[in-house]
Symmetry: C2
Subunit: 114 residues, 2 copies
DNA sequence: GGAGAATATTCCTGTAAAGGAATATTTACA
DNA sequence: TGTAAATATTCCTTTACAGGAATATTCTCC
């Protein structure tokens, strides 16, 4: 109703709102990685790495490709596109102005209702 | 080390990663609002609205201006700018390509190490 | 100064989720 | 076929945090 955004996907944000998971995502920004590589670079135990990757995967943030013993994880573009357009829907706020205007309108309205 | 981003502020994401709080933020996108207005529009009890606003405020997402009895909350631009540039740091991913390239490089490297 | 709004704070309780440790699963390879 | 590597899964425990209900605080106005 208030724009094209069906609302940012809560799940995406929840998935990212965890220190180790965000680190994983930032690691993967530079290219696909193996579970073991991720665990090592972040100083995580393998099971925790796998669990976090599962969460990321369940939320469509990450993609997996099996290759023999290894599982290679990489970022999926979609969530980032979505996040991008969500953030863009706050452009007016980001550019400031508008605050003052609205502020002013609010005060007008308040006086009227008194 | 890996780019200009000092790392997205975890706190920002955690603060947003809660259903009611994201609804508050989206409400405020259209302009400043009073605690009562927010509570009413979202069907929240006043105390919970206040609590969520406190979290948002503590994390610099929201700004408060006292006006008599009322407290008027509005969005602060900074976190959204930060989020925006963070997301932008994933441009390569968002634009796809790169996956295939990196993929290919990975495989090369794997063969070498065998 | 007392009453009643609007908002904040406190205390309590339930629950989701993260980490640890152990174990299961799959694959390569000798 | 047996062993070892890489990964996933399960079970347990602990902790953070959201909601409910009650109460405190601050302001206006008579």
């Amino acid at each position: 109703m208030s724009g094209m955004n069906p609302g940012m996907d809560m799940a995406t944000l929840s998935a990212l709102a965890e220190p180790n998971r965000i680190k994983i995502v930032e690691l993967l920004r530079d290219g696909p990685l193996t579970v073991g590589e991720i665990a090592e670079q972040l100083g995580l135990r393998q099971p925790q790495a796998s669990k976090h990757l599962k969460v990321l995967s369940d939320n469509g943030i990450v993609d997996m490709k099996a290759e023999a013993n290894r599982r290679i994880y990489k970022l999926r573009p979609e969530p980032f596109q979505a996040l991008d357009s969500w953030v863009k829907s706050f452009q007016r706020v980001m550019e400031e102005r508008f605050d003052n205007l609205e502020d002013y309108l609010r005060e007008l309205q308040n006086k009227e209702n008194t």
